[in-house]
Symmetry: C2
Subunit: 349 residues, 2 copies
């Protein structure tokens, strides 16, 4: 119960998706901050920059010219972390020195030909085009790869080196740690309770009405009970689906609506382009396409670093890296702060 | 084998302590960087700052005055994430909304009365005093708490808000995720092979001579085979010990030597005050003091964020947070780069 006063005191909360705990210390929000302040995000991005390789008609470092695209545009990353073909690493029977093969491909998806727009200022049709591209890419890459990770680093604070609106897809022959663990914990829950964990979770959050940021006909966005980042959110479907390939037109439409609103709320909170890393997790693909994955629920994750203002972030450092995640602001308070923001981006008001 | 050319190509490596994999993409070091550059660390810190609460004789926000200490100085954090006594959180039988009690205490340890010195410029006797304080604190807090986490965030980039040389201790009534998982994996290894995992690992690293940064009579520091951060290192004992309480005088002396050299090498690499989070992991304390923990090996972990220069860090963001850790520089190359640095800090040369 959110109103139970002891949740205003420090406690630990369990994350059933990761089988891990997070330390919550709400009294620590009173701490003054005299540490590093971040640069404010650049706000005056030109619509077109002839030196920006993601803009239509500009030559990239690979020598290729980005075409005069009018909607989304997808290309292979010029400096990919994953290449399709590489020599096999040596085999080792030593349990302390294990290496395995990794193949994959990294792509970039431009959201829009203009640099000075973003999901919260693009039209709903334009955002739907982005989602359709995510569905197409998952279908195509999922034939070959076990895991297709779509993610976006928004803002220089989150390592984004190009201000043009875009996201990335890294797909791999290996099943990465994070979604693999989530899959195992969802399977254990399904075997025990006979229902997908995240569908149960979504329904209970709807009943409790304590951590919901926004919902529409098809989707709910909550600050998860076990959130680590100050304004972390999770996007959950109302109808059970496993992956992007299961989307119908109505889910695409309402996800576009939700993304526009969520990003507007984020930006409105501190009146800035809110930095974050975000991405989508669903049932694995490739060889897993023919196996029973009903325990999986498709969902989105937003991990924004800001804590107190446009320039003061939460540092995930010493204790957090070496011992356990720790947060100051409670999940309930963060959800209330986002919920009360306007659904329309401040630049459009 | 380090010389096997396929380790110059992308592959995944296994971390047996965490039972997780890391993606290694050495070819990606060729990527140009046009993203965020960090502020350079402030170099001209005065020896004494009358407004700095960690300096001798200065009043802290709690109202207390920091005494005129001459060696180390320990006090309870004025804005602790963990308090000793708090109300118990409500019980829940819902597996998706689990909360548990967390009690603890947070302390600060000043290394030295002067603000403008650090471990690599302090005398070996002064560094030994810091280690002795770590031993005392672990002994005292370990009577009451399951976990005593000593850690340091060095530099504003790693969330440190006070330039005076200091570290922190957060001890807790709960066993944090990270060391708990390490304990479980060390136990599994011990049951299977009859030896402590990290003692085996230390010996094999000594044989291979590929990732050693520095060693002396009692300690070895390596870039672990499964390192995530570009210049991550691990400090391992040559004689098996479980925790700080097991230290003898010789181990204290040689750990002081190693820490001075390691930090000098870090600072010499990019000629800056090298930011990092670091800390120590050993067998749990409190109720665990009377149980068999022979599978544990005491060790230190250094996690520095810099990748290419004093101002360009590795961003641990989208793919890393949502899928799996990824590194560009190979562990072998990072070890070689640190190894060839002088053992004496550049400011003393
Ligand atoms: O040293 P401080 O100011 O208490 O805080 C610093 O270290 C803590 C423990 O790693 C983190 O929770 C904070 O985000 C960081 O700023
Ligand atoms: O988008 P880029 O420039 O390829 O790279 C960015 O995202 C990657 C995936 O999260 C990270 O590995 C990099 O550290 C970050 O700078």
């Amino acid at each position: 119960n959110f109103l139970f006063p002891s949740l205003e005191h420090q406690h630990i909360r369990y994350n059933p998706l990761k089988n891990e705990w997070v330390l919550v210390s709400p009294h620590r929000t009173r701490r003054p901050w005299s540490g590093q302040v971040e640069a404010t995000a650049v706000e005056n991005i030109p619509e077109f920059d002839p030196t920006n390789p993601l803009c239509p008609g500009v030559r990239r470092s690979s020598g290729e010219v980005t075409p005069n695209y009018t909607s989304t545009y997808v290309f292979t990353n010029d400096f990919p972390a994953l290449l399709e073909e590489v020599p096999k690493p040596p085999e080792s029977d030593d349990p302390l020195f294990q290496t395995a093969e990794a193949r994959g491909t990294c792509r970039v998806i431009c959201f829009h030909p203009k640099s000075n727009v973003y999901l919260c200022t693009m039209s709903i049709e334009e955002v739907k085009n982005v989602i359709s591209e995510w569905i197409n890419q998952t279908n195509e890459l999922g034939k070959k790869y076990i895991w297709v990770q779509i993610f976006e680093n928004r803002g220089a604070m989150m390592g984004c080196s190009n201000p043009h609106p875009h996201c990335q897809i890294w797909s791999s022959s290996f099943f990465p740690n994070e979604p693999k663990a989530k899959g195992e914990n969802q399977r254990i829950y399904f075997e025990k309770y006979g229902k997908p964990m995240l569908m149960d979770y979504m329904e209970k959050e709807q009943q409790k009405q304590e951590r919901i940021v926004y919902e529409n006909d098809e989707w709910v966005v909550v600050v998860p009970y076990w959130a680590v980042w100050p304004f972390e959110t999770m996007v959950l479907p109302k109808r059970h689906i496993l992956r992007f390939s299961d989307f119908d037109e109505k889910q695409t439409h309402f996800l576009a609506d939700l993304m526009r609103v969520l990003v507007a709320k984020y930006d409105n909170l501190f009146k800035c382009s809110f930095p974050y890393s975000m991405g989508w997790h669903g049932a694995p693909t490739g060889a897993y396409l023919n196996s029973d994955q009903r325990h999986w629920t498709f969902h989105g994750i937003y991990l924004p670093p800001l804590l107190r203002s446009a320039t003061v972030k939460k540092f995930i450092v010493g204790y957090e890296l070496l011992a356990q995640s720790q947060r100051d602001l409670s999940a309930e308070k963060a959800a209330a702060m986002l919920r009360e923001q306007s659904n329309t981006h401040y630049s459009l008001l």
